[in-house]
């Protein structure tokens, strides 16, 4: 479990560094991939534990440190996306890359729309068509990048001996709350 926490902590730092640097060096406009959210979806779909939920919360809190003015907003939205990914993987028999991409796409839409509504109320959605174009673009870019991030995480986990690539973590035999 410690190795998993360290892996995600490192991955989150790298993702945050990329997310803050990419828009400055490339003309991405609003289409900045949400790499931390992809990591949260990976957590929700493959790691069914309370520590994973806590990690998702901390990842959101880390985004709050580098974005916007309200502490707790991204912590809330990333935890929510984690929970949705967890529920999705609990209901489905198969959680492959396509399901992951769909979860990332929907997750980005929910996170961005939720953030705007919480931040500015429904008046934030006044320019609906332009806003939706930007959000759909960002969700699509994030979904397209998701397989790369999933593969990188699976490879890293395999290297650290955490779990077999692409398979869901099974905690049904454990008895500790945090595992």
């Amino acid at each position: 479990m410690v190795r998993l926490v360290l892996l995600f902590a490192f991955a989150t730092l790298v993702a945050l560094a990329l997310q803050t640097m990419l828009p400055y060096w490339l003309p991405l406009g609003p289409y900045v991939p949400d790499l931390v959210l992809i990591l949260a979806v990976d957590l929700g779909m493959r790691h069914h534990s309370a520590v994973a939920a806590l990690m998702a919360f901390v990842m959101g809190y880390a985004i709050d440190a580098l974005s916007g003015t309200q502490i707790g907003l991204n912590a809330f939205m990333i935890t929510l996306v984690f929970l949705l990914a967890y529920e999705l993987s609990s209901q489905l028999l198969v959680t492959n890359v396509v399901v992951g991409m769909l979860a990332v796409f929907v997750g980005v839409m929910i996170k961005d729309l939720g953030s705007i509504v919480i931040n500015s109320g429904f008046s934030g959605l006044a320019n609906y068509p332009a806003l939706m174009r930007d959000l759909l673009g960002q969700a699509a870019v994030s979904a397209l990048l998701a397989p790369v991030v999933f593969a990188a995480m699976a490879r890293s986990k395999k290297m650290l001996g955490l779990l077999a690539t692409g398979r869901r973590e099974d905690n049904s035999t454990g008895k500790r709350w945090l595992t």
Binding site: L16, A53, L66, S67, Q70, F76, S120
Partner: protein, 282 residues
């Protein structure tokens, strides 16, 4: 039975508790300046060397790419000319970069002298982590005398204000963020209003009465009444005035004077602006 229920639903229950905690942080209004935000400042401190290193790396890669293109163009030239040309191009690119940086810094120096206040120059080393908010990360922090609440300017006009600082970096909330607002007036007609950011880019000037004399092309400048920005700094110019529809106020759109995507160096005013007492507007 109960422990089995708790065990089976441990992820949902933990997530629910964490959602409640983050909702509590949201509703109680934990701001970047509060003690609860200290771990975030530490994170900024951890990331700023990475961001600075990345900035240098990307700059080196950019130079390398330009060198490569130049080499392709002079492929048919002989080896001596090839090497010489490459060397001169490198030198020229470096000098051009130095000249641009020098020009920016000179303009910032002129601005600082014109302001007559103490100020610190800083480089922009990063952008907002999500793209939904409009913030920048600067290469200077508390070690350079910066603190949250200080005004950030460029030679083009008002950029924003500092909302969080760590030892070696700080974060600026740009004036076109939907959470930003500053007191301003129309320079020609002296009509006052509050300039605020809107979600889909740009600025709006709020609370301008229907009978006010505001026209497209008017310069909008800071009033100095908000205690952050010195008086008379350019914010932008009026790009649209809509008087149709009901309501007490007109919709005034303002085009920012600063091109936020091209910002490289900024000036942070470390002196508090002089206090100005508001006079009633007729």
């Amino acid at each position: 039975m109960n422990s089995s229920f708790l065990w089976r639903n441990r992820v949902v229950l933990t997530s629910g508790l964490l959602l409640l905690l983050s909702a509590h942080m949201l509703t109680t209004g934990v701001r970047p300046r509060d003690p609860a935000a200290r771990p975030g400042e530490a994170l900024m401190g951890v990331l700023s060397p990475v961001q600075s290193a990345s900035a240098h790396l990307v700059e080196a890669a950019h130079d390398f790419w330009h060198d490569y293109l130049a080499l392709v163009e002079v492929q048919r030239e002989n080896q001596r000319l090839h090497a010489e040309l490459s060397r001169f191009q490198n030198e020229r690119a470096r000098l051009a970069e130095l000249e641009t940086e020098n020009r920016h810094l000179s303009e910032l120096l002129d601005l600082r002298e014109a302001l007559g206040m103490r100020a610190v120059a800083a480089n922009v080393i990063g952008s907002d982590a999500t793209g939904l908010s409009r913030t920048f990360i600067l290469s200077a922090g508390t070690r350079n005398g910066l603190n949250a609440g200080m005004a950030v300017l460029s030679n083009q006009g008002v950029v924003g204000k500092l909302i969080a600082t760590s030892g070696s970096s700080s974060r600026v909330l740009l004036i076109d963020d939907h959470n930003a607002a500053l007191d301003a007036f129309d320079q020609r007609s002296r009509v006052r209003g509050i300039v605020a950011g809107v979600v889909d880019d740009g600025l709006t000037m709020k609370y301008v009465g229907r009978s006010s004399d505001v026209r497209v092309g008017d310069a909008v400048v800071t009033s100095g009444l908000d205690g952050t920005f010195p008086r008379g700094l350019l914010i932008g110019e009026v790009s649209r005035v809509e008087r149709q529809g009901p309501g007490l106020f007109v919709n005034v759109s303002v085009a920012p004077a600063v091109d936020f995507r091209r910002l490289e160096q900024v000036l942070v005013v470390t002196d508090p602006p002089p206090r100005i007492i508001a006079q009633d507007q007729d």
